[in-house]
Amino acid sequence: MKTAKINVKDGDLLTTLRDFYRSILQLEDISAILVPQHLPAKNVVMPTLVTDPKQLNGADPLAPVFPLNGAKIVSRLTRKPMGAKIAVVLRPCEIRAFVELVKLKQGRTEEVVLVGIDCLGAFKNGDYIQINGKKEAAFTSRFYKDALSGKKLTFEGFDLAPACRACENPVPNGADILIGLFGVDTDNQLLIQARTPKGETLYDKLDLYDTEEPTERSAAVKSLVTERSAYRDKMFAETTEATNSLEKLNTYFAECVNCYNCRVACPVCYCKECVFVTDVFNHDPVQYLRWANRKGVIKMPTDTVFYHMTRIAHMSTSCVGCGQCTNACPNDIPVMELFRTVSYHTQKAFEYEAGRSIEDDLPLSVFREDELAEVVGIGKAA
């Protein structure tokens, strides 16, 4: 794996990154770059598709927020041939979601170079708006410096989003080009790594000097993953306890109003239209009466837990744990917590990890006679 370091001028990571992105965009065969930027209006951070290198001044890949999972955007850009190649700057969970979408034929890798950056985590959308209410331009710098120096990441009383605190994938392993921060002397340097042949081709054009990965890096990553795994396991235990009966599950989703925002926000929920908003669930009026008759009372709208369970059944094997579902919930239901808890088990059962590799087949499109013997009942008895 080709690895290089680029110098950080004046300890300013953002400027260095912007320059790096600019150098990518200036390559002959890269027509555009997708990168999160502070937009002038309201100072929000949104993905932008940039073709003019001068328009990269607001690029802010380290801002602790991602209002939507960029995989959905990349899917739109790559669904069909574009006739040009682009680079996209994504967080690890966005890359992993994109890998799932590619397998679901919702995106193509042929014309895209994935540029991943070590993820420092993000706040919930709402929290970020609260924290950054002052529209502090330097907030990102304050944040990444704290994050990289290991300080507690509490701002204005807000912690990082639970999804990020439980994320054991802070490194964008699936990227073509990786930008490394962990275990790197970020005051002076950034790590650039070509992780795929495609990444290498681009790397070679970038006029970089080969070097070794810093020895501290793997230990730094490991320690971060350990910390986050502990948080994650605690979250799993609490969520399991909160949902281990139908009654508790009903309680868990008690505030749900069937707005389906979570499924809109979900990067891997790729259906053009969710079945729950089609005629399938547009029951006959008399049907509601019949149900009510049977029990004497039914909660309206109906099919709430059914909806969430269906979404879990459909998508939990592809869930990357980005937490956008929780972000999207108007009533603060911890949707991510349940999804991740279930996904952890379903993915383990199929020896599958969402977003790990494009080569792994989607578990439900593979039939192995010897898997899940206790369920299928035809595995080798001996």
Partner: protein
């Protein structure tokens, strides 16, 4: 719509009979399928597991095109097909006429239980006092006189074994549906006159016959008899020959003068048999030998009665007969070495062991000994019991027992969780089929099955433990004794019971061992035109070979029917389209069958009607008695005609039975059958424990709510039922055959002979393939005859276009229309359009560098030898010593398969040399001699002729060193345990066959190849010539190594499979068909991956997923993987299923 009018009779409803019948039926012929047993499935109904999957899979034979004409559930349970009339317990009585126009008479054993009324409740069994061994479980368990012939049939009606029934009448009394009629009313109309001067004879005959329900009169003399005859009509007269005054013969003469149609059976003592025979010449039907007892007399009279009844029916007209009578098995108790069978309880036959393994067997599948319940931990299989045994005139191999034994050993091991030791004692492991060698190797290396070479000479019994001591001699000559819990005898084949009589009846030859004999180069045609053989009737075959042969037999039969003009005529169908009710609100008539008064007792009808009518879709609820009877059914029709509903729900029993009736009802009342639904109410009534006479109100309301829920599920299905006509796929009625060898030519001819155009592609300059160098077969038939004959027909055929010097470059498309680009060496590329494809690209002898091949003129391959003998480039007179080495590079990785023809080729050449010069030394170095079936006798013949057979092991292969003038061959002779050196003038290597079907070519057609490069079957056992992709078939050496005759059989089978499709101008899809709601589809293509039939594709221009209606089998896998129901399955819409589930839970909240 063109429908083939023409009919075939298939005799025997085992696996090959079913295959042949289905093939003919799918092509469009009418088929009558008969079996003498009361169930279909033949031997397979007793075998639960088949290798290589070690499971069943029979259902894979069900029609996949126009599949709604057939039942689509477990084929072991039963079969319905619109074009097949299945008659069980039926035998063939006579065949008259000529090919294409036979008249056949059938005899059906009377059924004392009406299957349309029997609901299978089993109450009759409880009261039946007679208990006999159950043949289904090979006598290992018992059954009553009234019993289920197999445990799994649908509908599973009880039958009465009239041979053992005591006619006590208990079952008749207890039967709630009146299905049992012991005393058949009709027999009373059959009057018999008994004429005998002895009073005791007259009286006992009268009593016995009246017991059977016949009307009987007696006469003491000839004149008295004539007197009776003048007053009363009789069907049958039994006449004693020796009577004072007018004797029996004179009475016969006189009676026949006046009543020429009277049937007369003579009764005679042994002394006057000759007279009786004379009497038959002047018109007696048969004679009975005195003294007789009722056990022999009654069945004979009943047969006569049935024959006479059968002959009253007009004979059935059929174009051809396919005989699929199967085989029976050797009974070791009757052999010279019984191995203790019949004496020691734990010596069983392979078939009995199959039942022991079965969940429906005597132990419910638990692996314990029947005698003492000891768990089976060590089992021995003894091969070749009743096969390959000259002492008992069984100089043949039974072909299937080796694989059968390995399968049993593996299933037993799996059952025992590995804690079972299995040893197979064998002479040669005949793993000659595709994939068999690897199966055997895995059994040995992965599962630890022990293979012991050698014949066991005796089995002893330890009375204390019940264990068995197997004694055999190993290669070193050491006597070995080993203790086993059970010994399984792999019993060989014997001709099926009644084969001789059947052969005589149809004037068809049998081979020297009594099996059906076919014509040279055909596995199906007999010397009697119009009579073809399927399956094991001509010698035991495994499933895939039986299925191939059955399809080939169907083709031969079809050719005859077609040639006799019984095809392609237009059937005038006056079916009017059903009225369109799609704009009407549902108006449902619910008809509940009360099954006599059974259900009426259990429910509150008024309450039920009230509850049902809550649903505005329910128009009318009617209760009918016994819709299964003609009266009940007419009642139903009357109600329908009166109320004119636009949907009908029938609540009754056995919904399967109604499939055909619904179609008929629809036609009669002008309602699309898709709008008629049947739900099973009896299952609930039977399973409820409410058998008491008086039920409490609570109990009645509970039953009511259960009934409501069942009817509710039916209503839900019905409300969402879609009466739209099913789509169909247009079929381009042309075939492409790739490969012009004997297989390709045979399949092309078979298709063209049915009136469809064929393009035949051959890459060489001339047609003929391997037959251009092969000279003759082991049996001595010259290959030139078949080649010339076929070539002539192919070249002259107006419907066959031959393209030699051509190669297929690429192909795309789906069944119904393929586009194939062909490159002509001279003319360049052109495109052919066709509806089906047959891959017959052939195979060649494998190249080798082993054994110093190529370094000496004296080292040749079997093919080289055949050519040298033919073109006289071999000085045969000079030869003194020849060594033949078998399995060169074969049956070991990477070519770990048997090429099947090499052993017989070696024998052919060895016998040829021995015939020329009996003094010549011939050594055949072999691993296992694969002389399966009747070729075994040539192996015996070769040994008798002095050919020396030396077995070698892979670990110690022979060494071949060319020296001056001769070749030195060193090999280890296992019996003497020493290395031997042979100085040979000629070393002949059997290198086997490699296929010539290029992978990319196969893939461009959508077919796949196995790891050895042969065509991969959709299913090796049940769909052996089909590709998983519909419309692609393979035959000949591209399919698997096989001899000429067997190759032709695959070609005919492939052609038959192709014809099923070609015979349709449009191929209708099934009613249950997948559809795509494009507005919801995200094009994730998961449905395409999930479709096991390759019926879906994405059209990149339309940006849509399309479903090929003819290929879709309605399995629903696509709908299952589709997360937002953009992919749906007609008949199983989400809304419909939710409603059904809701109804099923009705009353349980």
């Amino acid at each position: 719509m063109k429908k083939k009018i023409g009919k075939a009779l298939v005799v025997g409803a085992g696996i090959s009979g079913i295959r042949a019948a289905l093939d003919l039926a799918e092509f469009g012929y009418g088929v009558t399928l008969i079996d003498q047993s009361p169930h279909i499935g033949g031997i397979l109904s007793q075998l639960d597991y088949q290798f290589p999957t070690d499971r069943c899979g029979m259902c894979k034979m069900l029609p996949m095109v126009d599949r709604d004409t057939s039942s689509q559930y477990c084929l072991r349970k039963g079969l319905f097909h619109e074009n097949i009339d299945i008659r069980l317990s039926t035998e063939l009585v006579s065949v008259e006429g000529e090919p294409g126009n036979f008249q056949v008479l059938l005899r059906q054993k009377p059924n004392l239980v009406d299957p349309s009324r029997c609901i299978g409740c089993g109450e009759c069994v409880k009261v039946c006092p007679v208990e006999v061994p159950d043949a289904f479980n090979t006598g290992l368990s018992g059954r009553k006189a009234i019993y289920l012939p197999v445990p799994h049939a649908i509908p599973n009606a009880y039958i009465i074994d009239t041979n053992v029934c005591s006619r006590c009448g208990e079952c008749e009394a207890v039967c709630s549906t009146g299905a049992i009629k012991l005393l058949e009313e009709v027999r009373k109309d059959f009057r018999i006159l008994v004429v005998d001067d002895e009073l005791i004879m007259r009286d006992s005959l009268k009593a016995w016959l009246e017991d059977e329900g016949f009307a009987v009169d007696i006469a003491a003399s000839g004149s008295e008899a004539l007197n009776h005859l003048s007053k009363q009509a009789y069907e049958l007269m039994l006449v004693d020959i020796k009577m004072p005054g007018m004797d029996g013969v004179e009475l016969l003469q006189k009676a026949k003068e006046v009543f020429p149609d009277l049937s007369v059976v003579m009764m005679t003592a042994y002394a006057t048999v000759e007279t009786a025979v004379e009497a038959m010449k002047i018109g007696a039907l048969d004679y009975l030998l005195k003294p007789f007892d009722p056990d022999t007399l009654i069945p004979m009279i009943i047969r006569t009665y049935q024959d006479l009844e059968a002959s009253k029916e007009p004979p059935m007209e059929v174009g051809a007969l396919v005989l699929c009578g199967g085989t029976s098995y050797f009974d070791p108790a009757g052999g010279k070495n019984t191995y203790g069978y019949g004496m020691y309880p734990n010596v069983v036959t392979s078939l009995e062991f199959e039942r022991i393994l079965s969940g429906t067997g005597p132990n419910q599948g638990r692996l314990v000994r029947l005698s003492d319940g000891k768990p089976l931990r060590k089992v021995a299989w003894l091969q070749c019991v009743g096969s390959r045994d000259i002492q008992i005139d069984a100089d043949y191999c039974s072909s299937i027992c080796c694989m059968h034994a390995i399968k049993e050993a593996l299933v037993a091991k799996e059952r025992a969780g590995g804690a079972l030791e299995a040893a197979i004692f064998y002479m040669d492991m005949r793993t000659f089929g595709k994939s068999f060698q690897r199966y055997r190797d895995r059994a040995e290396t992965e599962h630890g099955v022990r293979f012991e070479k050698g014949r066991v000479h005796s089995v002893l019994y330890d009375e204390n433990s019940g264990d068995l001591i197997v004694r055999h001699v190993d290669y070193s000559g050491t006597h070995i004794e080993e203790i086993f819990d059970m010994v399984v005898l792999s019993v060989g084949q014997r001709p099926a019971l009644g084969t001789t009589a059947l052969a005589e009846m149809v004037e068809m030859p049998l081979n020297q061992w009594g099996f059906g004999q076919t014509e040279p180069f055909s596995l199906t045609r007999t010397s009697k035109e119009g009579i073809v053989l399927g399956g094991s009737f001509s010698g035991l075959k495994d499933i895939s070979e039986s299925v191939i042969q059955a399809s080939a037999a169907a083709l031969s039969a079809s050719r005859i029917i077609h040639a006799a003009g019984g095809s392609l005529s237009l059937e005038i169908s006056s079916v009017e389209p059903f009225p369109d009710i799609s704009q009407e609100p549902p108006r449902i008539l619910i008809a509940v069958c009360t099954c006599g008064d059974l259900l009426a007792k259990l429910l509150d009808t008024q309450q039920l009607v009230r509850c049902l009518k809550v649903d505005p879709a329910v128009d009318q609820v009617d209760f009918l008695e016994q819709t299964c009877t003609v009266t009940g059914w007419e009642n139903l029709i009357e109600r329908v005609e009166k109320h004119k509903p636009n949907r009908i729900l029938i609540g009754s029993c056995l919904p399967y039975v109604y499939a055909q009736k619904i179609k008929e009802l629809g036609r009669r009342v002008g309602l699309n059958p898709a709008l008629i639904e049947v739900v099973d109410l009896m299952l609930m009534a039977q399973s409820s424990n409410l058998k008491s006479e008086t039920l409490s109100a609570d109990e009645i309301s509970k039953i009511n709510s259960e009934l409501l829920s069942i009817l509710g599920t039916g209503l839900a299905r019905l409300k969402w039922a879609d009466p739209d006509p099913v789509p169909s796929q247009k079929i381009l009625q042309k075939a492409l055959v790739v490969g012009g060898g004997i297989a390709g030519m045979s399949s092309a001819l078979a298709i063209a002979d049915h009136g469809f155009q064929v393009d035949l592609i051959e890459q060489e300059e001339m047609l003929g393939g391997n037959l251009n160098w092969l000279q003759r077969t082991l049996e001595g038939n010259t290959t030139k005859t078949i080649l010339d004959e076929t070539l002539l027909k192919v070249e002259k055929h107006p419907l066959i276009r031959i393209h030699t010097n051509c190669r297929v470059r690429a192909s795309h498309g789906q069944v119904g229309r393929f586009y194939t680009t062909v490159e002509d060496e001279e003319k360049g590329a052109f495109t052919l359009e066709h509806g089906v494809t047959i891959l017959a690209a052939g195979g060649v002898e494998a190249d080798t560098t082993s054994y110093n091949y190529g370094t000496s003129e004296a080292i040749v391959t079997q093919k080289d030898l055949e050519r040298k003998i033919h073109n006289n480039t071999l000085d045969q007179s000079r030869l003194e010593s020849i060594v033949m080495i078998q399995c060169v590079d074969s049956r070991q990785e990477p070519r770990n398969y048997c090429s099947r023809i090499c052993c017989t080729t070696a024998l052919k050449h060895a016998l040829h040399f021995k015939e020329k010069n009996p003094e010549i030394d011939i050594y055949i170095l072999y691993r296992d001699m694969m002389t399966y079936g009747f070729t075994e006798s040539y192996y015996t013949q070769a040994r008798k002729a002095g050919v020396i057979f030396i077995q070698y092991d892979l670990a110690e292969k022979p060494q071949v060193t060319p020296t001056d003038g001769f070749v030195r061959v060193t090999a280890v002779e296992p019996i003497i345990g020493k290395s031997v050196q042979i100085y040979a003038d000629l070393v002949v290597l059997a290198t086997g066959i490699v296929p010539r079907l290029p992978k990319d070519l196969a893939e461009s057609f959508g077919a796949t190849l196995d790891r050895d490069g042969f065509f991969e079957e959709a299913e090796s056992k049940w769909r052996p010539v089909d590709s998983l992709k519909e419309g692609i078939f393979a035959c000949g050496l591209a399919h698997s190594p096989r001899n000429i005759t067997e190759s032709i059989a695959t070609a005919e089978a492939a052609a038959q499979r192709a014809l099923r499709i070609l015979s349709h101008e449009r191929m209708p899809a099934g009613k249950v068909l997948a559809e795509v709601r494009h507005s919801l589809c995200s094009l994730c293509e998961r449905c395409i991956e999930a479709c096991p039939y390759g019926a879906r594709m994405v059209d990149p221009e339309l940006e849509k997923v399309l479903v090929n209606a003819a290929m879709c089998q309605g399995c629903g896998s696509c709908a299952t993987v589709c997360p937002n129901s953009a992919s749906t399955l007609a008949g199983f819409l989400d809304q419909q299923m939710f409603d059904v589930i809701d109804s099923a839970f009705e009353g349980t909240a």
